[in-house]
Symmetry: C2
Subunit: 410 residues, 2 copies
Amino acid sequence: MLNVITLEEALQLVRETFVPAGAKERVPLGEALGRTLAEDVTAAEYVPDFDRSNVDGYAVRARDTFGCSDAIPAVLRLQARIRMGERPDFALEEGCCAAIPTGGALPRGADSAVMLEYAEEFGDGTVGIARSAAPGENLTFRGDDVSPGKLLLPRGRILHPQDVGALAALGITNVPVTAPLRAAVISTGDELVAPDKKPGPGQVRDVNGPLIEAQLADAGIRAVRFGIVPDREDALRKAVENAIQDCDAVILSGGSSVGEKDASLRVIGSLGPVLFHGLAMKPGKPTILGRCGNKPLIGLPGHPVAAFFVTRLFVLPLLSRLSGTEFEPRQCTARLTENVSANHGRAYFCACRLRKEEDGIAAEPIRTKSGLITALAGADGYFCVDRDCEGLMQGAQIRVFCLRENDYGL
Amino acid sequence: MLNVITLEEALQLVRETFVPAGAKERVPLGEALGRTLAEDVTAAEYVPDFDRSNVDGYAVRARDTFGCSDAIPAVLRLQARIRMGERPDFALEEGCCAAIPTGGALPRGADSAVMLEYAEEFGDGTVGIARSAAPGENLTFRGDDVSPGKLLLPRGRILHPQDVGALAALGITNVPVTAPLRAAVISTGDELVAPDKKPGPGQVRDVNGPLIEAQLADAGIRAVRFGIVPDREDALRKAVENAIQDCDAVILSGGSSVGEKDASLRVIGSLGPVLFHGLAMKPGKPTILGRCGNKPLIGLPGHPVAAFFVTRLFVLPLLSRLSGTEFEPRQCTARLTENVSANHGRAYFCACRLRKEEDGIAAEPIRTKSGLITALAGADGYFCVDRDCEGLMQGAQIRVFCLRENDYGL
């Protein structure tokens, strides 16, 4: 008998049972994109480290320009030309200015910069300034952007391109990130052949292996491929024992025969407590969760659509718990294009295609008799008919969890 | 003088000027995730390739069970036990049944399967069936999922995990995808040092290189790093000429001095027509677009925030045009937490942080005097104040373009 629990109960059990694995590593800046910060990143320097001009023009002492105008420019002596990337080694004298490029370092004594547009070099070593400058105008001061001690990015932040830029600015090129989880993926079943093989009579290709590996990779988890293991308890036990040495989690995707189900359950149960056996969802009922220390052992249904939904709805949140991150799938609201009748007593998950329409998004359920791969290929999202709900009507506004990104103007 | 055009005009110019590069390659299934299909994928086989049972139980001839019940079971002779992965080499005889696992191949003659729950082996070579079976019940027929010629996935589809699973099912392990674009990233400026170096007086670290490389990588474009090129026209010209041999596009991120701007413009202009010089957006005005054949040459502002926005708003759509894909950033609606005043005559882009609140999402503008890296680090999105708009009021519902994924329940 299955000890069936709901998905919500299963996820609650996960939160109570497993703790974040907490492993860290350091990666070069060029590999930090998409990784999760393992520590707060605090500035250790001033950015910029010097006062600089925001404009192409002239560094001045503001008071030397007070009261000037187009008609009566202030005439200042051109004391120097400052070049990019050099710190001026002089102090600006009274009645003088220095040509300065955008980003150039301000000389001592200067307290403002005048834009090129308001200045004219007379060719005799003097410059006419046609607009009075306010102290501090057109300048960025040392530390305006960042000062030592400022929290730049918090622990747990998933690093996006803009964060990589900020780390570069501070010279943090060896970035502390959480080590990616390693999850073993094992397919079992005597009927399975590798996807690049032609199935013989009665055989099918292993879909779950590549499918689950791709789902894990998509979530930033390192899938460790263990391939196809024959449907014998000793072979399965050996594979799981090897996997658990090397990985943070083991995902068995069972064939669906009685023997395999039993073998998975016995192997998982021999390594630690079985936390549940059976999820009240469709597809996905024959799911097993066991525990070996802080490492989950997961037995998934052999049916690809079921394996897909359980991975998405249960395994990814479980592994996110281990990696200390949040897994929150994108959602949108869409109009259902046809009636969907539901099953009794189990949350029913249905894949769908999404279409942008004038007045919103339309969700077209993908129906297949068998619920095999055509229910997945080309799917854009999925929705749930709650276990207490008898069905959804055409035209209903439903919540769709999205499987594709950068789409539908969400 | 800048020949300034709006972002919309610039993107229209891109559509009129550049055509998709159209290069294809083949990758192993394990590397296909996230890639774009270069060809329609059509099934060449039946999936499954044989009639199979959907349940653990007994394959029967339906008519042998008609009229049976709990009280008066049909008693059938157990002719065989079918194993997973084997094609039965017999025909089911009248009055007989065969034990069959879920996914097992149906023997000839059988036309239905009865679930284990409704059957009992009597131990004398016979099985009692307590429920009459309808023809076709609990079966998946050959080709139910896919038949040869069926379009499985269309050209242009970005491959998601569920698509990888479908390709595995069909044995398509060498996947035709569009070749990723290669874009050269060149930083110019005498004041720049590599991010892992300590800047000397008047120097700053190269932020734009790592920033733009990360933005490209995030969009699936292969950034080819050319590093920092000194601010001399001959050096810049040599770097660009090298880059254009090897890459589909060249992105110069200029220092911001007058000399550099001129050098970029002259180098770009010497290799083909300059399509525009100046974008009516803030930040981001000093942007240059040139063309060498079907290869864009892009001069970006040196300012990191400006480079970031122009890359996001202009360069990524441009490169998507070349790769034949759509670039559509995610959006959400959020409540502005404070007034934002705008500039005149230029679309103004402002980074913001997003917070989930009870009644929706709050967008808090990130304000910095200088608009340097702190305006980017930790940003969750950005919004635009249109060029004709004088500002946005606190509390306004605004459209925010999201920079982070899997957040805010979108």
